[in-house]
């Protein structure tokens, strides 16, 4: 995807977001009994978003002819990053159910085995090692409570 296409998509998204902010702010009181209301600030924020997003979209059109500036942004490798992100979000979802230690070990195994294609034994060793270190430092030494699973850790 070229830089200008990226700018255009960002501009469209932020323009739409600005419209959303304005629509919500318009439902809130602009003026309250004691001065500006809760809708005052967000309304002007939304207007600013719409204006600057329009500027970004315009700039992407204006420079789209300039091939020298319009280098490609690499999005092909984003699949790995997004897979990692998704794995992290699943681990976060599992925090309350199976506890921090186990969800962290599973996440570590995914990152090392699935994304990095390294041996599972290494992944287990790293995951358990780090989980134990976190437990010793945070739970034992610093008395921080972490989510615990049904097995007590």
């Amino acid at each position: 995807m070229t830089r200008d296409k990226g700018n255009l998509i960002s501009g469209v998204c932020l323009f739409s977001f600005g419209i959303y902010v304005i629509s919500v702010a318009a439902k809130l009181p602009y003026i309250a009994d004691v001065g500006p209301g809760p809708g005052f600030f967000p309304l002007w924020l939304g207007i600013g978003l719409v204006l600057f997003a329009s500027g970004l979209m315009f700039a992407s059109f204006a420079s789209s002819g300039n091939r020298a500036k319009n280098e490609s942004q690499s999005w092909k490798t984003s699949a790995r990053a997004l897979a990692g992100w998704l794995a992290m979000m699943i681990a976060i979802a599992l925090l309350s159910r199976i506890g921090f230690a186990l969800s962290f070990v599973i996440l570590t195994m995914f990152l090392i085995v699935a994304l990095d294609r390294r041996p599972a034994r290494l992944a287990v060793a790293v995951g358990i090692g780090l989980a134990v270190a976190f437990h010793l430092i945070f739970v034992i030494a610093l008395d921080v409570s972490l989510p615990v699973g049904p097995w007590g850790f």
Binding site: S10, L14, V34, G35, F41, L45, G48, L95, L111, D116
Partner: protein, 503 residues
């Protein structure tokens, strides 16, 4: 009694074995608390406050203050090594500190952070000692219009945080301002942009957002390439693990800038160390001979904000001790402690209890020396963290982020938010939107809106109140000048180009 005589009294109090011991305990604990994201000095001081009831009161305030300014030292460590801001005031340090680490200069970054913190912390203590009462009286002149103007001046720093595109920086800043508006409106108790979530009534947790954007965002970017890539260069030899004489020379203005700005902003209740660090960074970039290098690993970009957030600690004690006005969460708890011990913080505190005030001032000198002595030798040790293979480092960063964010409120929701902000941080990097501008908006949004609405209430809707008061008018003029800088530079560039074409 003059200042020198008072200081000697203070040292006679601070240099007792008991007070020295508790000063050491305080600064070490503060450093540890500052290093780890999520664990803040406010919560630590609150937890230890009951234990201090049995202590001598001067000893207690020395220990608790040690935690307060010690945390500012520690906050830079994870910012530089792992791109995780340990404290909210260390966010700006991530911008250049982490880049320095990637270039093999983690040691230099950690070292200059400790040195700058020492210098600025000492200046902060000097300021507290010499000009606390008149500065506090000046700070009282800051009403909502002045605070609004100060926040606008802070937002004007977006000019120095923008990369190639000012429009993208402004958009990021506006999104940050919007995030700050999420939650319950302070004036009318109406909920805004909470999407029906009770947990958002209190707003978005700042630590969750910053850790997500910086730390998780960075991990996601690095996950794009599979194995083998050396993410961090590591310097060999002990000498390369510390700042060089040239580094110290390059940072001369940064030391001064951070000290003065940090102390002055710290003396304003509610302004915050994060504002001080952004302003200091912006000023450093503005006067630099190579501003385009900021954000790529420039040592002044570490020295200035780290100095500011340490001098801020001294400044924050000015309104607390002279007027009984706390500037933030941590000083509010310190105020609670003073009241609990039977003191009345205010204009008479210094006269009625000179041993408390001067003992504290002297202990801060000692504490700053202790922090430098403790932190500098640890620099090579901390830098070894970067030797960890990336398949250990990334899970470590994610783990610390999850634990740090969870520990703030014991809330899985905050960890969810961290994950979402992590995705946002990743997308912002891919699309060249500066994350620092978004954080700037988040930091200042709440204060900006509150000050603006209070100002308009004061003036019954007349917006000219912001420009007609001398201090706010001056600050707004400076902010407007800064905002016009890109346009001025562009006009100058066109004129030079036109002259060259004609020539």
């Amino acid at each position: 009694m003059d200042a020198l005589g008072n200081l000697l009294l203070g040292f006679s109090v601070a240099l007792t074995p008991v007070n020295l011991f508790w000063c050491l305990v305080g600064v070490v604990l503060g450093t540890v608390v500052g290093v780890l994201p999520g664990l803040g000095p406010a919560a630590t001081i609150a937890m230890l406050l009951p234990l201090t009831l049995k202590m001598d009161h001067t000893t207690a305030i020395i220990a608790l203050a040690g935690i307060f300014y010690g945390a500012r030292y520690g906050g830079s460590t994870t910012s530089i090594l792992l791109n995780i801001p340990g404290e909210s005031s260390s966010v700006v340090t991530c911008l250049d500190g982490y880049q320095m680490a990637r270039q093999g200069r983690a040691g230099a970054a950690l070292g200059i952070s400790a040195i700058s913190s020492f210098i600025a912390g000492t200046v902060g203590v000097l300021g507290l000692m010499l000009i606390a009462p008149p500065l506090a009286r000046f700070a009282l002149r800051f009403a909502p219009p002045e605070y609004f103007a100060l926040m606008v001046l802070g937002l004007a720093m977006v000019v120095f945080l923008a990369g190639e595109s000012m429009v993208k920086a402004l958009l990021a800043m506006l999104v940050g301002l919007w995030i700050a508006s999420i939650g319950t409106d302070l004036f009318t108790a109406e909920s805004r942009f909470t999407f029906g979530q009770m947990k958002l009534l209190g707003g978005v947790d700042f630590i969750a957002a910053t850790v997500g954007i910086f730390a998780i965002g960075e991990v996601l970017v690095n996950l794009e390439s599979r194995g083998g890539a050396e993410i961090f260069k590591l310097s060999k030899g002990l000498r390369n693990l510390f700042p060089t004489l040239q580094d110290l020379k390059d940072c001369r203005f940064a030391f001064l800038n951070g000290s003065v700005i940090g102390f002055l902003i710290g003396a304003l209740p509610g302004a915050g160390a994060t504002v001080a660090s952004f302003l200091s960074y912006g000023l450093e970039k503005a006067v630099s001979r190579h501003p385009e290098k900021f954000g790529t690993g420039v040592i002044e970009g570490v020295a200035a904000p780290e100095g500011a957030n340490n001098a801020d600690a001294g400044g924050a004690l000015v309104p607390l001790l002279t007027l009984g006005i706390p500037g933030g969460n941590t000083t509010a708890i310190l105020l609670g402690g003073l009241i609990l011990w039977g003191y009345k913080p205010g204009p008479l505190l210094i006269q009625e209890h000179p041993e408390l005030f001067w003992g504290l001032v002297a202990s801060m000198y000692i504490g700053n020396v202790l922090l430098l002595v403790l932190n500098l030798p640890l620099v090579p040790l901390f830098a070894q963290i970067l030797r960890l293979p990336y398949y250990v480092l990334y899970p470590l960063i994610i783990g610390i982020s999850i634990v740090g964010v969870y520990s703030v409120n014991n809330s899985p929701f905050d960890v969810w938010m961290m994950g979402l902000f992590g995705l946002l941080g990743y997308l912002m990097r891919k699309l060249d939107f500066p994350a620092a501008a978004l954080i700037l908006g988040m930091v200042l949004g709440d204060g900006l809106e509150r000050a603006l609405r209070q100002s308009l209430m004061m003036s019954q809707g007349d917006i000219l109140i912001l420009a007609t008061r001398p201090i706010s008018g001056t600050l707004l003029f400076i902010a407007a000048t800064i905002l016009c800088l890109p346009a001025i530079r562009k006009v100058r560039f066109w004129r030079v180009a036109a002259v060259e074409r004609e020539g």
